[in-house]
Symmetry: C2
Subunit: 342 residues, 2 copies
């Protein structure tokens, strides 16, 4: 290996742009390739949605505190969340597993019990995969498939100035849950009979260890005949995901700080850590909630669904993507972290 | 981790059967889930085929002698070969990459140059993927997609007694290429200016480092209006793959030893190693050729295509799966190795 440019020098999504620059489109059926939450492949009147995710031990999860059954469940949620982000429901998934020698059959069964539980919960068919030995840690790779009528697909690139920005659920809890688990791991390291202290923070743990798919929202949007002008799932953190949506749509955004939904437990734990709960909401990631835009005329219809907050609106590109504080000043949104989605 | 059953105790495909035992089918569109080369999902009159593969550094490849560009190319071939094995052509692929810190941008570009080259060669669209840092080695996960008319799909389970068994290409060369590379690696370990000796064995190297997809065969079969009664790709070795086909079809097979196509270079290198070229052909794997069955009445039509050998025929299940030697005695076929396909 001769020339060596650090991957970090390309910035968050620069690497992906660079690597995909050589891709040629060969098939008419490929309606949308890389660059959105999922690929879109024509399939008669409908389109097929395809998305893939990789989870690696030591990077994406730590088996010292992440139970295998929860990991299996979460793997399905992580992969299928990208299908939801196109305004569709997932119907099938493949899961490939690289297994290190420390694993026995019982451990794999635990993992698959979680995979099956999530598949049953959300009516998803496990249709295949691959298994391999691994000299390193546990490797999980999932590919999710869904179908949708072409005209109901919500891409990232359809947001228009004045559209309102809608968000499901609340933010920062999964990130704080991870911090809580890491703290207890450090505190109990070497203890012969570990008794982690999680009381009062069950919501944070659940958000990290057993996130849920917002299939309910996709169904409600269909019932109300709402097709979002754009949509993305919140895997990288609000700031990064809003920026991706703005970039794809060629627009700016105003997000109002006081409208960002943050759970009580996130505030409490942030106080304990002497940290800012807004940072967890903006940059924490791993939320698996949905962010979407609709024309302002649909405000009433969206609010009626329940559990959805309107946190801002789309602006002209020149205005930039800003976090607006209660005193009216605007702070430029910045993304953080290693590129995740391709 | 309390109870611990070694995965090897379940036998080659027992693990997969066990892990998938809990899977429930939820969607009518899932025509065929795990258990064949690819999943089959209904898509109007057509069906979508989906297959996924995992390649892990240290298990499936060794970067000390496997050039990254070739690895990218081969990753596409490995994944798409399963779509061909259903008698269909691949149209799209996703590639996820877990990247260790020793990698720079240039190395990733090399890898992707190979991926793009294979996609261009076979008219496949690269439609997405995921990237992650990796604390361990390079991880590659590919998911290939193809479409086919439902009635033209060749499953593994349609072989009938008296059907002839057809094979494309020749066997054992990729396996011998791997041995050649491993031998040179050992010989040159620590040498300041390594000059590997590959002369006369270029075919073995090419079979290992740059295998080709047999899309030509799928096109010829379509032109001749031949729909195989069953089909599989040769990734695990002839013995294992014939056994899988027999198991799925509920039948036996006679494979005639003298009809197994083995390249001259495989014979030469086997002689150098003092090993049996037939073992490489039966158990080596990694060939990515196609094995299929057709009614005996199609013998002429198949042979006319060229490059296809008829190596045996399907029998009643009770007769077992046998390798028939020139003196007429039958040796029971046995599979080897860790479960690969799910």
């Amino acid at each position: 290996m001769e020339k060596h440019t650090e991957i970090s020098t390309l910035g968050e999504f620069g690497l992906i742009d660079k690597l995909l620059a050589g891709a040629t489109k060969h098939n008419k059926s490929t309606l949308c390739g890389a660059g959105d939450d999922a690929a879109v492949l024509a399939s008669g009147q409908k389109a097929m949605l395809l998305s893939t995710d990789l989870l690696l031990e030591g990077i994406n999860f730590d088996l010292t505190y992440f139970p295998l059954k929860h990991l299996g469940y979460k793997a399905v949620v992580v992969a299928c969340s990208d299908i939801l982000a196109m305004n569709a429901l997932p119907s099938a998934i493949t899961v490939s597993v690289g297994v290190s020698s420390k694993f026995g059959v019982e451990q794999l069964e635990e993992l698959y019990a979680g995979i099956h539980a999530a598949c049953d919960e959300y009516s998803i068919d496990l249709v295949g995969g691959d298994t391999s030995a691994s000299v390193n840690g546990l490797t999980l790779s999932m590919t999710a498939v869904g179908y949708a009528e072409r005209k109901k697909i919500a891409y990232r690139n359809g947001a228009k100035p004045t559209d309102i920005i809608c968000l499901t659920g609340d933010l920062g809890a999964a990130y704080m849950g991870l911090h809580l688990l890491e703290r207890e791991k450090r505190a109990l390291d070497g203890s012969p009979n570990p008794q982690p202290q999680f009381k009062g923070y069950e919501y944070l743990l659940r958000s990290q260890l057993k996130p849920e798919l917002r299939t309910d929202i996709i169904k409600h949007l269909a019932e109300e005949e709402i097709v979002p002008t754009s949509m993305i799932d919140l895997s990288d953190g609000l700031a990064s995901d809003v920026l991706q949506l703005c970039k794809a749509s060629g627009c700016g955004a105003h997000i109002y700080l006081e409208r960002i939904p943050i759970a009580r437990e996130v505030h409490s734990f942030a106080e304990e850590l002497n940290s800012d709960p807004v940072v967890a909401a903006l940059n924490g990631g791993d939320d698996h909630e949905l962010l979407f835009t609709v024309p302002v005329s649909m405000y009433e219809k969206v609010v009626k669904i329940g559990g959805i907050d309107v946190i801002g609106h789309i602006t002209e590109r020149e205005k930039g993507a800003l976090l607006v504080t209660p005193d009216g000043s605007g702070i430029r949104l910045r993304s953080q972290g290693f590129p995740e989605g391709l």
